[in-house]
């Protein structure tokens, strides 16, 4: 479209922005703006003024971000997610490699890990609270398990599905068991592992918020509810927007990570 515009006689030369801004890229922006406008107009016209509006959320940003409480919430929740996913992923990778490479261990563990993987982990929150009490440790435990399960499953699948020729090469050139596990199986499974960690983050975020609400642990999820309960809907949604930005950012980072650690995997 931009290229066509360039050719129109007398039209001023277009910059990089207009070339980048194609109809395809513009469409979601238009749809989003239309939705926000509809939201704004409808709430102003029909609903009480404590109900959140897009402009209200924007206005609530500076005051919310100015509070020390906001930043302690962010540090608590995102810190727990990052730490928990890290611990869960490392544990998942180690167990997953062993499960993938030692058939007998897979027989013992696979059924349980896969059953837990299929279970909504929120169901475990009451049990974890009984163990550790209404403490941040409950959130940490749930996040660790949330990341551990998908990473263990994908790592096990990835390390089991190695091309036979790689194993032959390893044997031929004198690879011992640990060389095969960590020098062949693990790198071959990297694309699977990154996918597992991405899933671990998605579940970790969801479950961290759920635990905060269910166990009244201070954090972003808790504040979403307290702010909302105090009729600060706009401030509540500031937290939601920040969580969404974090989730989208992590996903983008994971896609990049996969391209960096496994450039051969395509995509």
């Amino acid at each position: 479209m931009a290229a066509l515009g360039d050719r129109i006689a007398g039209a001023p030369p277009r910059g990089g922005l207009s070339r980048w801004l194609t109809a395809e890229r513009l469409a979601p922006v238009v749809a989003g703006l239309a939705f926000l406008l509809l939201w704004q107009v409808y709430v102003e016209a029909r609903l009480p003024d404590f109900v959140a509006t897009p402009l209200g959320i924007v206005q609530a940003f500076p005051s919310t971000l100015a509070k020390a409480r906001f930043w302690s919430d962010v540090a608590a929740t995102l810190g727990a997610i990052l730490e928990g996913v890290f611990i869960g992923s490392v544990a998942g990778i180690l167990i997953g490699v062993v499960m993938g490479r030692v058939r007998e261990l897979n027989w013992f563990l696979s059924a349980y890990i896969r059953a837990l993987y299929a279970l909504p982990l929120v169901a475990l929150v009451p049990i974890v609270i009984i163990w550790v009490g209404y403490e941040p440790a409950a959130r940490m435990i749930i996040v660790i398990i949330s990341a551990f399960l998908p990473v263990a499953v994908t790592t096990a699948d990835g390390t089991r599905a190695i091309a036979k020729e790689y194993l032959d090469v390893g044997k031929m050139f004198g690879a011992r068991t640990h060389h095969v596990w960590f020098g062949i199986a693990l790198p071959a499974a990297l694309p699977y592992i990154v996918a597992g960690i991405e899933m671990g983050f998605a579940r970790g975020i969801t479950n961290a918020i759920a635990v905060e609400v269910l166990a009244s642990i201070n954090g972003m999820g808790m504040s979403v509810f307290t702010q909302s309960a105090e009729l600060n809907e706009n401030a509540s949604l500031v937290y939601v927007v920040c969580l969404a930005v974090f989730a989208v950012g992590v996903r983008a980072l994971m896609i990049r990570a996969r391209r960096t650690v496994a450039p051969w995997y395509g995509g």
Binding site: E165, Y166, D168, V169, K171, M172, F173, G174, A175, H179, I184, P187, A188, L190, V261, A262, P263, W264
Partner: protein, 272 residues
Amino acid sequence: MPPSDDPRLVVDNASLHYGALDVLADVSLTVQSREIVSIVGPSGCGKTTLLRCVGGLNQLNGGEIRIDGQRVEKPLPMVSMVFQHFGLFPWRNMWSNIAYGLMLRRTPKAEIARRVDAAIEMVGLKGFEKSYPHQLSGGMQQRAGLARALVMEPKLLLMDEPFSAIDAQTREQLQFELLRIWDRRPTAMMFVTHSIDEAVLMGDRVVVLAGRPAHVRALRRVDLPRPRERSVVTSPEFLNLREQVWHDLFGQPTDGETASRGRGVRSAAGRK
């Protein structure tokens, strides 16, 4: 057993079966220390299986394989293999793929660098050290596969249809480069192929493996001069040998196979 002239590799009455399926039956052959022995046979006849047994990747059910007198029960360090589908690790760059075997042996770093660089030079991959396999053509990947095997300075080199996954022109180029490399440092080589031309071109002897289970149907000495130049493929000796091997494979009705079936696949077999 030849008592005086000890061959590097002895395959002695090798037999192998998977369950009820007999794959190899009493296969015997030898490879001398500076000799290339081609193993030719139809696809799926068991020649790769035989090579894998020599490499220690598969186990025999009967008979035995000895390399320099040592019985093969697992891969031996003095043996290297070049794989049909290259078998390069996609997460290692070319240099580090070639260094793989030496790294596993904890060779000193300086020595690894020296030997890997020399091997890269030898196979003509200079300048591609940092490239990853997915960035290289099939021909270049197999050059790296060859360098990875050569850098180990093996006493026996096993070639598992190394050029069959490479386009025809590059294949021809690589065949002559391998011959040139071998001329500089002759070593014992077992070269498995399904191409009669390639078997005759590479080998000092050609073992024709055929039948079900596979057995040695014929053994041909190739008295073509070395170093082998490109012109050799048009010489009457070459064409004559090619014809003989073809007849070994398809010409004689043995084991209930008919001569007419052999003639029917002549053109296909000749071109493969």
